[in-house]
């Protein structure tokens, strides 16, 4: 069987991701923004899936869509919707924002122009059967040190979370 309408799904998922990304910053109601962000993250998970990285897609759903967004929602639940809808949505920092966006765009174009030859004639292997195994072999072999450092990061984050919330230590 031929691959199922890969182009269609790519543009579909990309459109979902980009559109919900735009919704995140334009919606006045923060709960709508949060839901749009969930949709954007799910679209991203779909794109990872299309890049033959099912493990990354699964982790994206579990951690981002199912974990971090719960915290976002908790915070937003505190906000009074009526008040937030009256507030100015964009402040005067748009020049800085524009500059940052331009710099990022230039970076992307630069990477594309420089790296185009790298992607040109590369055959895509089908690593799906062993995607998880491949990640694991690299992560727990070559990049073992980075992996152990990650646990230190987690430790710092745990302590940081408690320190932020505590009145006195």
């Amino acid at each position: 069987m031929q691959p199922v309408a890969t182009t269609f799904f790519f543009y579909f998922l990309a459109a979902v991701t980009v559109l919900s990304g735009v919704l995140v910053i334009t919606r006045r109601n923060p709960v709508h923004s949060a839901l749009a962000l969930i949709l954007a993250l799910l679209g991203q998970a779909g794109l990872y899936l299309m890049l033959y990285a099912p493990f990354v897609a699964g982790v994206q759903i579990i951690l981002y869509a199912g974990g971090i967004m719960v915290l976002f929602l908790f915070v937003i639940m505190l906000v009074s919707i009526e008040k937030s809808q009256k507030e100015e949505q964009f402040n005067n920092m748009w020049i800085v924002g524009l500059l940052a966006a331009l710099a990022l765009g230039a970076l992307f174009i630069g990477v594309y122009v420089k790296g185009r030859d790298l992607f040109a004639g590369r055959e895509v292997a089908l690593p799906e059967q062993s995607n998880t195994q491949q990640i694991a072999i690299l992560l727990y072999g070559n990049y073992m040190f980075a992996f152990e450092i990650a646990s230190l990061l987690l430790l710092v984050a745990i302590i940081g979370a408690v320190v932020m919330a505590k009145k006195r230590i």
């Binding site: 089908l126 152990e148 302590i159 408690v162």
Partner: protein, 131 residues
């Protein structure tokens, strides 16, 4: 049958769409069929027969945020363990020691939050639980 990589994930999308369709259909059907005869008492927020005081947008305990934050951190820990578990047979004892160090460091954080009383929800009676 689905030898193709993408074809394996297509049915999940189909299933999700059908489930969404079903959910919408149920809500619509109930909205069309059910009668509506609202009265003021029916439409006020439920408060055990009392007259409602204020609305529900109030501040709640910071513990809920703390639990959500800690959940994310421990969830990341668990996700790191999944690919490790899959290839542990190849990593052998090296993999075991590697993970023991990792879990050990995270466990330090776990005992920190335990001793800080973050996990106590009993309120003031615990003495330390002033989060």
């Amino acid at each position: 049958m689905p030898d193709n990589y993408f074809a394996r994930y297509l049915p999940i999308l189909i299933h999700f769409s059908l489930a969404a369709l079903l959910a919408t259909a149920i809500v619509l059907l109930s909205w069309i069929i059910g009668y509506r005869r609202p009265t003021r008492a029916k439409l006020s927020p439920y408060e055990c027969g009392m007259t409602p005081v204020g609305d529900a947008r109030q501040r709640f305990s910071v513990k809920f945020y703390l639990v959500a934050m800690l959940f994310i951190l421990f969830d990341v820990e668990a996700v790191f363990l999944y690919p490790w578990a899959v290839i542990l047979r190849d990593l052998k004892m090296f993999g075991f020691w590697e993970m023991l160090v990792y879990i050990g460091i995270v466990l330090v954080g776990f005992f920190y939050i335990w001793k800080k009383g973050v996990l106590d929800w009993g309120g003031a009676s615990t003495g330390r639980g002033e989060v």
